[in-house]
Point group: C2
Chain length 86, copies 2
């Protein structure tokens, strides 16, 4: 079976987020008020071939921990959906 995976990688709470801070500082000068708490992360999409959803989830979790994120400073949230059959 094929699954669509979306991995959202976010900085852990307390880790400095200079990209987010820069966006937040720039917004009032550009006329956007009322925006706060800006956090910038990554979003990684891919397809996974696996026997079932449990196998796909275990593969994606392993991939996240070993390769896509730095677990010291980043958290990841995995969303898996069965791909539409072509």
């Amino acid at each position: 079976m094929t699954f669509d995976a979306v991995v959202e990688v976010r900085l852990r709470p307390g880790i400095a987020d200079p990209q987010g801070a820069t966006i937040e500082r720039a917004l009032p000068a550009l006329g956007f008020d009322g925006v706060g708490g800006v956090q910038v992360g990554k979003s990684i999409r891919f397809t996974v071939e696996a026997a079932d959803e449990a196998a796909a989830r275990s593969l994606v979790d392993d991939l996240c921990h070993r390769f896509l994120t730095n677990p010291v400073i980043e958290d990841s949230v995995v969303t898996l959906t069965a791909a539409a059959v072509a």
Copy 2:
């Protein structure tokens, strides 16, 4: 009212994605098979103060088009949820 916004920024179809291609090439050597179609985007989270959901959505859409994305090469998907009242 306060809303939590998540903006997912993705490259448009057909735009070269060297980050995604590099991840995809590296995976078989690391023992991950069956993974394909890797696309790397950004995920930007923030809170918005607005009178109602329509006002918040229009502010976030404007922000996306003018500031957070390059509409020539990137698409964005906005998800808005009312923030839990503290």
